[in-house]
Structures are given as C-alpha cells and as structure tokens.
Symmetry: C2
Subunit: 231 residues, 2 copies
C-alpha cells in the first residue's frame, strides 16, 4: 500500500462526503490536520478486527467488504462499502478495538481520520453530532433488522434479502456485479456456499434471476421482495 496525502485536503471532499457538509472551515482544518490517505489493492486489509481503533476511515473510491470474524473461521459480512462511507464506530467512538474487519474488494482509496480530532469536532458542532448520531442510529437499525432476518428467516428469504440489498443499495439497479462471489453471498446470509449456490440456481430456474458467471441480474424484483417478506 501506498501512503501519502493523495488528496489535497478535506476541503475538496466536502462536497462528496455528506456528513462533512455541516463542518466549518476551521473544523475541516482540524480533521485535515492528521489525516492521511492510503491506496489499497484487492484483498488487502484496510482495517482489522481486534486492533486498537484510534481512527475513523472515509472511503474515497473503490469497493470494500466489511465483516466480522466469527466462530470456526466463519465470516459474517455486514456490508459492502462504497465511496463516501464513514467507518470506524463504535470502536473508534469508544476508544476500543475495531469490532469488524474491512478488506478491499478492488483497488480502494481510503482516508484515515484521527479519532481524537473527530471527537473534538463532534463536541464542538452540534449539527454535525446530530447527523453522526443519526448515522449511528441507522447502523443500529440495520443491525437489528439483520439480526432478525438471519435468525428467523430461512435460506430462500435470506438469499432474497442479500440480492435485494446488493441490487438496490449497492449497485443501485437490477444487476449485481462480478465483484460479488458466491462465497460472499454465503457469508452475507450466514449459510454454506453450497446452499447459497443451490438457492441461486433454484431462483434462476424459477426465472426470478439470471446468472451469467458471477453477474446476477434480477428479473422479478416483486417476487424477490415477496419471498423476503415471507421469510
């Protein structure tokens, strides 16, 4: 990885990273002070579960996978990460360890923000802290939703959830890109790879989706949502 100040300063990012729009120039300056950006290659660990969290990271470009290393070498993918996503809490808020790992799925540029500076700005700017709190609330909501889905839905429902999430929230359309492997889908839905493949093939037979290699195209979004609802 390539450590340097790859961007000129946070002033430029300001337009992109929604959360930072609430900041004054002085506050941006403070965040910018100890900031540095790093370019990661495919498969490189951006943030490792269990390490001391004294920074937040903001993803500038690329694509990454955020997951928890669970029991028996199993992973649980929490999210896929696109640009302008801020990552680090709650580890970084609590001066604690990171609770998950983040790994680059492809070439990814991220910005490391010192968590003390971040927290100073949080204390100083209440609009910013409101928005940050809202973000945390959103994270918690999603965690609750997934907790229920993972523990109560069976495979068909969970695969539907994964496809809906990937298509609608990550790829913003009906086609899921080749970055996503079958193993990823298995790790997101907490099932074996073999089972994930089986359900996907079944969905293909039922003309709910189309599979060409790794690319998944959603044909019948309505049915997918119905299956997701039913569990």
């Amino acid at each position: 990885m390539n450590v340097e100040k790859l961007c000129i300063g946070c002033e430029n990012c300001n337009e992109k990273a929604h959360l930072f729009q609430a900041l004054s120039n002085e506050e941006l300056e403070l965040i910018n002070k100890d900031r540095y950006s790093v370019r990661f290659h495919e498969g490189e660990v951006i943030l490792k579960q269990g390490t001391q969290a004294n920074y937040f990271i903001s993803v500038i470009e690329g694509f990454a996978r955020m997951y928890i290393e669970g029991h028996n070498d199993r992973k649980l993918i929490l999210e896929f990460i696109k640009p302008w996503r801020l990552i680090g809490g709650p580890g970084a808020q609590l001066n604690d360890k990171h609770r998950y790992s983040v790994v680059a799925v492809r070439e990814t540029l991220v910005c490391f923000i010192d968590s003390n500076n971040f927290k100073k700005v949080l204390s100083a700017n209440s609009e910013f802290s409101d928005q940050f709190l809202a973000m945390c609330g959103g994270n918690y909501n999603r965690a609750l939703e997934r907790m229920v889905g993972l523990s109560q839905k069976q495979m068909h429902g969970r695969i539907s959830d994964a496809l809906i999430y990937l298509a609608e929230e990550i790829y913003l359309g009906t086609t899921i890109g080749a970055e996503i492997s079958r193993q990823d889908i298995a790790d997101y839905t907490s099932m074996s790879k073999d089972s994930a493949i089986r359900i996907l093939k079944e969905f293909e037979r039922d003309r709910i989706i189309n599979l060409k290699g790794r690319i998944i195209e959603i044909l019948d979004s309505k049915r997918l949502h119905a299956i997701s609802q039913m569990g």
Copy 2:
C-alpha cells in the same frame, strides 16, 4: 395503567440515572417539563413496535422485556430491562417508528421523556451527547455480537450465552430468577421452546446448572463460558 407525575421531578432521578448527571439544572428542567411517568402492570405493553417514536423512556423501577416482533409470530428478545435504563433509540432519535416492543415482566414504573426536548439537550450539552453516543455505540456493539452468536453458534453455545447474560448482566450473580420463562430463553436464543428445555436439562445432567422450577442456578460458570466460546 396509572398516568400521573409519580415522581416529583428529574432532580431526584439525577443521582440514579447515570446519563443525566451531565445535565445542568436548566437542562434537567427542560427534560422535566413534558415528562410524565406511568406505572405498568405485568404483561402490559410499555412501548409498541411500529408506533411513532416521539419519546424516550427511562425505566425507574421494575423489570421489562424488550423484543422485536419478527417473522411468523416469532419474537426475538433483545434485552431484559432493569431500572435506570434509557430506551427509545434509534426510533426516537430519527423521528421514526419504534423498532422493538417493550413489555412489563412485572409491575414497572417508567418515565416518558419528550424526544424533542431530549434532542434539544443533546445539541446543547456536548458532554451529555458524548455519553449518549457512547451508549449508542454500546448498543450497536451488543447487536453485532448477538448477530454473530445467533447466526453462527449452535444451540448449546446460544443457551450458554443466554445464561451468562442473564446471570452476569441482569441478575448480577449466579442465580436466574423466576421471572424468566423457558419461552423467554427460547426467544432470546432464537430456538424452539422444546429445544431450549432440552439443552437446559442436558446442562443440568452435566451439573453445569441446577433447575428448581423456573429458577436456574449456575454451578459451573467456567464450563458455561467455555461452551459459549466454542460455539
């Protein structure tokens, strides 16, 4: 239920509810303004999933169960609630619906706090908002931990988790009280009641726990932790 200002004012609670210690008198006054407390009887719904969340609640005395109403009439118990716990987020933070229900396990007194007032104080007092943020981070952490446990551990591990949680965090000892039913344990661990009973009996045979009626006594905490670790 019995609606009245059962406590004199937040000034008194100040010593008890840790989070509120950061507040000035004026800020407490603001929170106190539209505050009211209600006494709930066993089984009564304190807060219903899906309703508009325009208040936080602080539990003053009693004992309650917080759960998500999931798929096929199944519940997932998130936590058991003891006094001085603040509940409401993220629904109440985001002007959204409550994402879970809270029901009194026995006679319970709770205090309803207007979420607008609460948010005003959050904006005004950065120490308070820091602490609130830390609380949210803790909630998120716990949700992640349970997400992994529920989706990756099998029954023995999950029952161990439940017993450890109940004994160490709720009952602060080695004995789990009669308020907790077998169904509760099943709903906390996301398994059928029959399976929960079976594992409990097995633990009893193995002299890990002792069962007298609903009361569960933990005999071999070390082994319980070991089983929890293994999954």
